[in-house]
């Protein structure tokens, strides 16, 4: 009942010309970003973040959220037509989507991806409507020790899900914490790691870090090898799936929706993991697994549904607990903090307009995306003809504008460049940068919770073992660490 009342509040907030326009614009920009290879949703969100500072918080958040799920929609177009994923969550769509395009069924692949995404997106937002308030109601009882335990669990979950070396992930988290410590300590006003340099007193600018690590580094990786785009189809026909396509796809769409939603909830999960796991599940339970990789429509329907569903799932921990599970939601959290809003258990009570407004906008955004995606597919095809070598200097200009406009300070451009080069090098060395960004955004909250917890009790750090919920979360973190060690040892044994 509370959810329905809240949702009505949300629709009353969102159904204004400005918010509707921004939701539609964000969906369009998101789709465009998803379509264009080499521009990920994270970099795009960072580039457009300064634009939202001039907007009301709800309008800004609606626009940013719509870019996020719009990018998930758009990514499939590039995967199907070019065999190049528009963004990471569409990698698996290349496998069968592109094969379908080679067989002259690009329209069916794009159609089922769009319709599947719409169904999954709507179902997951409905689940979010019910689930997010319940989670916030539990978390509202949390004090600093519980918050600390929750954030530790979130970071350990992120480590568990990352690709590559866990040790490198741990290091990235610690470096994220260190970098966030630069500037003035909000508790006692003491300067840390500024070395008298005035540009560092306000801390390291989040936008410069994100645009550098995920925008500039991406460009540097891409310019190494500039490939020529070969679009398979010039005219897309038959977007509406046939009855046989529906028969084959409805179960994968529903499974993908459920799987994506729950994987989105888990820190470190999100759209990328959801799409890969959905593909693996569909292949495993299929009666004809040999068809996968050769143009099976289930291999498009399931992962595309999963990556869209995961968007709504991943919004829940941010809005209900204030804990981001992936870099994009970390940036959304950062955007709210910049606006002076701290998402968390009290967010729903203190800012129902924002909380429910975002949820309501996601219902509408899914409809906008379906309406935009199918009729505009011809336009996206034409856009794919723009070669990357022409595109990247424009993206670089956008990176500069996005970074500079946050503080009007050229120093941030140097920070962006430094992190761009660092991100490029660290990618080469197989460091996963997601834990770094999540830790960088979460660090002030982790530090505050830890310090408040230590002050709260005469027993010092033992307070973390005196609160049942904290003990439970730290124990779960310990179990995950043990599982990671076990997994690594097993992998080590397998390599011998």
């Amino acid at each position: 009942m509370e959810a329905i009342g809240g949702l009505l509040t949300g629709f009353s907030v969102i159904l204004t010309p400005t918010n509707l326009y921004l939701c539609m614009l964000g969906s369009l920009i998101g789709t465009l970003i998803g379509v264009l290879p080499g521009v990920g949703p994270l970099a795009a969100l960072a580039l457009l973040l300064p634009v939202t500072f001039a907007l009301a918080p709800v309008s800004g958040l609606v626009m940013l959220a719509s870019i996020f799920y719009g990018a998930m929609y758009g990514g499939s177009t590039t995967s199907v037509l070019l065999n190049i994923p528009g963004e990471a969550a569409s990698v698996v769509t290349c496998l069968d989507g592109h094969q379908m395009a080679r067989q002259g069924r690009a329209g069916a692949a794009l159609g089922i991806a769009a319709i599947g995404s719409f169904i999954a997106g709507t179902l997951s937002v409905a689940a979010m409507t019910l689930f997010a308030p319940a989670l916030a109601a539990i978390a509202i009882r949390f004090g600093p020790p519980e918050n600390f335990g929750l954030m530790v669990l979130g970071l350990v979950c992120t480590l568990y899900m990352i690709s590559g070396s866990t040790l490198k992930g741990v290091l990235m988290i610690a470096v994220g914490f260190l970098l966030a410590a630069v500037g003035i300590d909000v508790v006692n006003g003491q300067e840390r790691f500024t070395f008298g340099f005035i540009n560092l007193t306000g801390g390291v600018e989040l936008l410069a870090v994100v645009i550098g690590l995920f925008g500039v580094a991406e460009i540097l990786s891409n310019v190494e090898e500039i490939a020529k785009n070969t679009v398979l189809a010039t005219r897309i026909r038959g977007l509406w799936p046939t009855l046989a396509d529906w028969r084959a796809s409805w179960r994968p769409i529903l499974r993908g929706s459920g799987l994506g939603f729950f994987l989105g909830l888990v820190p470190g999960g999100g759209p990328v993991t959801a799409s890969f796991i959905s593909y693996a599940v569909e292949k495993r339970i299929s009666r004809h697994p040999e068809r996968f990789g050769k143009g099976a429509i289930e291999g498009v329907a399931g992962p595309e549904a999963a990556n869209n569903s995961a968007v709504a799932g991943s919004m829940i921990p941010v809005l209900s607990l204030g804990i981001p599970g992936n870099p994009v939601t970390a940036l959304l959290l950062g955007a709210l903090v910049i606006q002076g809003i701290q998402p968390g258990p009290l967010f729903m009570v203190q800012r129902p307009d924002l909380f429910w407004g975002v949820i309501a906008s996601m219902y509408l955004g899914n409809v906008f995306l379906l309406l935009l995606n199918l009729p505009l597919v011809g336009l996206w095809v034409q856009l794919l003809r723009v070669p990357y070598r022409v595109l990247f200097p424009i993206v670089l200009l956008l990176c500069v504008v996005g970074t500079y406009s946050a503080n009007k300070n050229a120093f941030d451009l140097w920070v962006m460049l430094g992190f761009g080069v660092a991100g490029y090098v660290l990618r080469k060395l197989e460091y996963d940068l997601a834990p770094f960004l999540i830790a960088f955004v979460l660090a002030p909250l982790v530090e505050q919770s830890l310090r408040q917890s230590l002050v709260m009790s005469p027993d010092g750090a033992l307070i973390l073992l005196q609160r049942p919920a904290t003990v439970l979360m730290l124990a779960a973190s310990a179990v995950l660490v043990i599982l990671m060690v076990h997994r690594n040892r097993k992998a080590q044994g397998g390599n011998r």
Binding site: L178, R192, V223, I394
Partner: protein, 146 residues
């Protein structure tokens, strides 16, 4: 070799920040001080750096570093951004962006002169119009007012 140097950097970073955090103060009479949290993070950086230095298994499989033309393109982008960082406060966004873009198109993309000029002018005009006019963001201006 390069990765080992990076690991040494992590160890040095961890030790230096731990030492600096210690000087800020870890625990005071009123509880934790400003240095405690970065000190813990620095210890983790040091520990992870040492572990990575000693662990062959955690090393990147076979990182491919750019050479020749690819290296030129990467350095071209880095140089272009550095020029923008230096030039923007003096020249404004439009001129600094236009020059950078033209250089990138000529050196990285090997576009023809007229293509480079046309694309640079058009891109800068569109970005300036979109961000400066439509979205109302104050882009840096040069001494000539734009």
């Amino acid at each position: 070799m390069f990765e080992r140097a990076v690991n040494v950097f992590w160890i040095a970073l961890g030790v230096a920040t731990a030492a600096y955090s210690y000087t800020i103060g870890l625990i005071g009479v009123s509880g934790p001080e400003s240095g405690l949290f970065p000190f813990i993070a620095a210890l983790i950086v040091t520990g992870a750096g040492i572990a990575l230095f000693g662990s062959a298994r955690s090393r990147a499989a076979a990182p491919v570093y750019p050479r020749g033309a690819a290296l030129g393109r990467v350095l071209g982008v880095v140089g272009g951004l550095a020029f923008m960082a230096v030039g923007i406060p003096w020249l404004g966004f439009a001129v600094a962006g236009g020059i950078t873009m033209m250089i990138l198109l000529r050196t990285v993309e090997h576009a023809r002169w007229w293509e480079s000029v046309a694309l640079s002018v058009a891109s800068v005009a569109v970005v300036s119009w979109l961000f400066g006019h439509v979205l109302g963001m104050a882009l840096p201006r040069g001494p000539w007012g734009w």
